[in-house]
Every structure is written in C-alpha cells, then in structure tokens.
Point group: C2
C-alpha cells in the first residue's frame, strides 16, 4: 500500500463502539477506570512521561510515589515480600517460569488454566502436565490431583516440576478451589506454587502469604481499574530465595532487573494503577456484596431457564451459563446465531460474544443491582419476544 | 504498612510536575501525544477496551482497523514483510533474540548499544561481543568492526553469532552510521542484522528493506507519539524465514504467537499509536527541517562555549554536549551541581537531568525554532548571571 492521504485517513481517532453500554464481558468489568485513573491517564499520557522523574529504576521513583506503591502498599495488598509492576499477568507468569525453570523441565498447571499460562510455559520451552478437573456441571479441579501430577512428573523424568500453577479463579467458570490446600500439597514436594489471580487481585481479598503461595500474578487491566497493559507480580520467599532469582540484576548494569528488561510500565499505565489503588483497596472490602449480586443474578437467570455451571453456590462474579432457551430460538430464526448479540446491543448491553447462544460467560462485577435487574428483564423480554 | 486511609491518601491522582514545560529530554520529545492520540487515550482508556472487538487475535481486529495498521500500513512505513506491535523496542529485541538464538550463543552489539539491548541478550542467556567505537569527540562506530567481531566469535566458538545489532541512532550521541554498509558486512557472514530504531522510527524516514536490515525495533512512546509502553517489531524475510521463527505459534493454541505471549498491546496504547499514525507519517517527511533545527541549535550552543560531540555536521535531533562553561560555574557556587537544573526549571525548561552540568544530552525534536531560541537565550542568560 502507498501511505497517501486516502490510506492514512482510516487511522487517526477512532471511536469505541461499546463505550457507553453496560458491559458484562468478564474481561472488562474489573478494568473500568475510576475517575482518578481517567484524570491520571490524561495527565501522564505522553510517551513515557513517568521517566521525567526517574533516576534509572522505575520502582524507586519517590515522586510520584511509585516506590511507596511497589515497595510498601502493593506488597501489603497482595501479601508478599516483594513485588514488581509488569505488563500483565501473562508477562508475570513468563518472568517466573523463565527464571526458575530450565528448558525442558515440567510445570504443572490446573486443567482450567488460561491459554496464556500454557503459552508462557511454551515460550519458556517448558513441558506441561495438567491437573484434571471434573466435567459438567462442576468443572472442579481435583485438589489431590496436584500431588498425583507432581508424582507423575517425578516418576517420568526423575525430577520434580519447577512450578505448579493454579488459576484462581479460572477464567471460564469462576471456580475458586481451596488454594491453601493446594499450596500445602505442592510444598510437601518442595514445588513452589504460582497463583494466577488475573480475575481476583483487585476484585476480592487475596493474600498470598495466608494462602501459602510463592508467586502471585495479577492483572491491572482485568481487575485493578487500570489502563492496560499492566500487571503485578508478587513473590514470597518463605520457601526459597525466589525474589532474588526472578528479580536478579544484570551483571553489567547492576540496577537493571533482567526479567523486567530493565523497566516495564514506563508510561501512563502505572499512574492509572496508582490513581485507582485507594478505590481498588476499598472495593475488595465489599466483596461479599459482589458475591451476593452474582448469586442473585444467577438465580434470576436460572428462573428464566438458563443453568449456571461451576461452583454452586457461586463465589465469584465470573459465571458460565448454559442457555438452551436461547439456543432453541437461534435454530428457529434466520441468522439465528447472532440474534442474542443484536438484541442485547439494541438494549445497550455488551459483553456476550457475537454468535454465542448455547453457552456463554459473563461477569456481574461492579455492575450493580439496578443494571443487573435491567439485564435480567432484557433477557426475559428477548425470550418472550421469540417464544 | 497498614492500608488505612492515611496510607492510601498518598495515591490516587498525582499531578505531573513537568507537564507544561518545554521538554528537551530525548526520551520525551518524540513521544508527546498528538491531539488525536489524546482523544483516543480517553476513549479507549478502560482496562483493555480493545478486547471488546477482538475475536482472539489482536492484530486481526478489523474495526478499529488494527489489522490494516499491522498488516498494511506499518509494514509499508517500516519497509518490512511482517510486523507486530510489542510493549516497546526492548521487548521487540528480546523476542528476536529469544527466538533465533540458543542459550550460550553470541550476539554482536555496537559499542554504543542502549543498555536494554545488553539486558535483552542477558535475559535470553546469550553472550555479547561489542563492536568498538572511536573515543571523544566522534564516538564513531567502526563499520568494518562488525566483520572483525563476527570473525572473532567464529574463531573463538566455531560458530557464527546468531545476530548483529546496530543502534540507529545511538542514544548518547545521536550518531547515524552507514547501516546499509553494516547490513552488507553482516550478510557476507550470513548473520542477520537488527536495527534498534527507538530514536528514529517515527521521527525520520527509515526503511529496513532499503537498508537491508532483517529486523527493526521501534518505540511508540519514544518516537511515535504514542502512550507507552508500546513498540514495533518489523521483520524482513529476504535472508531467512525469520518471521516464521519469531512469530511462531503455540502448538496447542494455534492462533497465539509464543513470543507475543498470545497478545501484547491489549489496551489504549495501540489506539494512541493508530491515532497518531497519520501525523507521524507526515512528520517523517519533514525530517530535513528537524535536522536543520538541530544543526542551528548546536551552532548556537557552541557560540556560547559548549561543544557538541558525535557526528558533525549532525544528522539527528539527539545531541550530546560538553559544557565546561556550566561545569566551571557549578564548582564556584554552593550546591553547584544543581544550579543548571534549577535555573532551567525557573524558566519552564525540562529535560537536562538534575545534577548534570559538565556534559548532557538533549533533543530538539519537534520543539520548533521559537522555543529553541528561547532555550538558547536562557542558556546565555544563565551564563551571564554567574560569570
């Protein structure tokens, strides 16, 4: 292509279609900016504005208080000895895997692990063994399965796996297994545990120390009201010198951490995390209200003929529904696959992927009872319309 | 610390101190947002808003036109066969090194390489040999030195280096060596060349194909008027199937690229790059004016008793000055190290690091003749004041 005016005019400012809709996409509900973060975004938007104030190490910047955030507040919030800001949960997981495991070694992942955990292990050239889960309707991870998987790796390779990982909760069903129990099983074999908390840190209280997790990965854009890409990586050194390994420094550039490539969130992203942090801390204290909303919503949808999969009663805002009532409608009408998306769009509701009717996931996080009621009424209306 | 109200109140929105000053920090001049990018930032600021429109692969999103940007416009702009959006130039370099080189293999870097090139190689567990440069005042990279370095690696290890890298321009002196010649030398030995163009792509015309470079790394926050962290990675397949290697996909998740961990700039960052792109393309067409401004500014400072190091006449906006006149003043007065920073701050000029007087770098990019004149006058005034 030639970069003439005609070719260039499609770029420039492009409006966001779903901006003002009620959004129940699990990817979006916890990442919506606070007013403070929106102000910070504009204030610190240029290039990598934060570097104006940097003496060479991002997390040592005193003004703005990035040092206090990274070395005091976030470690307390996560329950860890050390933490760093990363580009996201997947980048946190890769940094850990790439540091503590040599190529060809095994890692054990829960069977519901997000694809990015698999991809992080593959990028680090590791082998993967998955802990099985039960099938429909619970999709429940076998807690003892971690022990079985670790033993299988040892018997097959003669070496224990370098790491076990639990997705807490998983991104399909929103199940929250007993992480403390799993940590204890892993530690019996001297295998460290990484919790992928992309859907929990910033939404609900999670404390890696109390759970006994060695690593915790969180996502700023998914659950900490931050403008992405940004995440957190917390490390506990109770069972090993893990932070020294993962945050090891360059032999030639002694203030630059290798796994961070010297620096990570060198722009507005970290300032939005800082801006939202007080409200994020506060909102995790009202998690019981969010769980109550999720359960109420689940019950309403079940009353309409849908079925919630996964843990029951549910303990998280991310839920997976089977919707035979919508699937039946979709089979009866022209271009039926898209009817649900279109009907919801007409009602300014976004977040169920276009084309899905038989089953889908959604999140009630921060939506509030009023808008949740409106969504229930909309579902009811759509069913009435086509039946 | 306890996360009580007193502890939390230091976070939230924090103003940017240098926001409204004239900024001549080389890190900042090319990353300042366009008006379109500032609008995009607010529009797409939430979490990872872009994912609302994603079918599973970021760069295949048609609306907003990320597909057209990544698969048509940016390849044309960079002169490459394939490109991807990354988190920054350093992340681009690491992705290449981690893909094409096995642990323990050598890479050849120019002696002026940015620390992030060194750190990327170290993270990938590679060995480094540097091509020497001349000393003061030119700091000029020995073009033939690439051949010598490659031969040295071969004679020491029996294997050719996996990659050569040239920083174009370097981040200290703003020198622009003959990259085409260096590419040709590297290809004589069948060694691919990566150009680190963090300070050129988005400022001046750079075409990897014309130069003969196999890889090109650029920085959105440094030089493409984008909100960081964001960068570009372009690949030419003229001398090898490099894009297949670097952009290889997961064996289990066939639409996810391993080196990208499945997805990179999954937020507002990519939308600011898109928003600024037309103006960024346009501004590279007026590079001659920027070079003229840099040369004019250099001459003015030399008239005041400073000396510009590096290439002369200079071909880039990034320049390094020795300033004995300021150094002499700093020795005479109390807390002298900081006098220059304070005097410039009082005149709303930012970008020369606090504490520097003897030598410093700066950038004239996009500052414009009027503000550059004001800076020259300010330097003159400061010298007069203390002499």
């Amino acid at each position: 292509m030639t970069l003439d005016d005609a070719a260039l005019q499609k770029f420039g400012f492009v409006p966001r279609p779903a901006k003002d809709r009620i959004n129940i996409d699990p990817l979006q509900t916890g990442g919506k900016l606070t007013d403070e973060a929106r102000r910070a975004l504009v204030e610190w938007g240029d290039g990598y504005s934060v570097c104006d104030t940097c003496g060479g190490v991002l997390d040592l910047i005193k003004k703005p208080p990035i040092h206090a955030l990274v070395h005091d507040a976030l470690p307390e919030f996560l329950g860890v000895d050390q933490m760093r800001i990363t580009h996201g949960a997947r980048e946190s997981k890769f940094a850990v895997m790439h540091s503590i495991a040599s190529e060809g070694v095994y890692v054990v992942l829960d069977g519901l692990a997000h694809y990015s955990s698999t991809v992080a292990a593959q990028r680090a050239r590791l082998n993967i063994l998955k802990v099985p889960h039960s099938e429909r309707p619970d999709y429940w991870i076998d807690l003892e399965g971690y022990g079985t998987a670790i033993e299988e790796v040892i018997s097959q390779t003669g070496k224990k796996p370098a790491l076990a990982l639990l997705t807490y909760p998983d991104g399909s069903y929103g199940n929250l297994p007993d992480a403390k129990k799993i940590a204890s099983v892993c530690h019996e074999y001297d295998v460290p545990l990484l919790l992928n908390c992309a859907y929990s840190v910033g939404r609900m209280p999670v404390n890696a120390k109390s759970i006994g997790a060695d690593f915790i990965a969180g996502s700023g854009h998914k659950s900490m009201a931050s403008s992405g890409p940004i995440g957190v990586l917390g490390i506990n050194d109770d069972h090993g010198d893990y932070s020294d390994i993962v945050f090891r420094k360059s032999p030639t550039n002694p203030n630059k951490e290798l796994e961070m490539l010297g620096c990570t969130a060198r722009g507005a992203t970290v300032m939005t995390m800082m801006a939202s942090f007080p409200k994020v801390v506060e909102r995790t204290r009202h998690w019981d209200k969010e769980v109550a909303d999720a359960r109420w919503f689940s019950q309403q949808l079940e009353d309409l003929g849908l079925t919630q999969m996964g843990e029951r009663p549910h303990n998280h805002d991310l839920m997976f529904f089977e919707a035979p009532v919508f699937y039946d409608i979709s089979k009866k009408i022209k271009k039926g696959r898209y009817f649900l998306y279109k009907e919801l769009k007409a009602r300014e509701i976004h977040g169920i992927k276009a084309g899905l009717t038989k089953f889908f996931k959604l999140s009630t996080y921060g939506v509030g009872r009023e808008d949740l009621s409106y969504i229930v009424d909309s579902f009811d209306e759509i069913i009435q319309k086509y039946q």
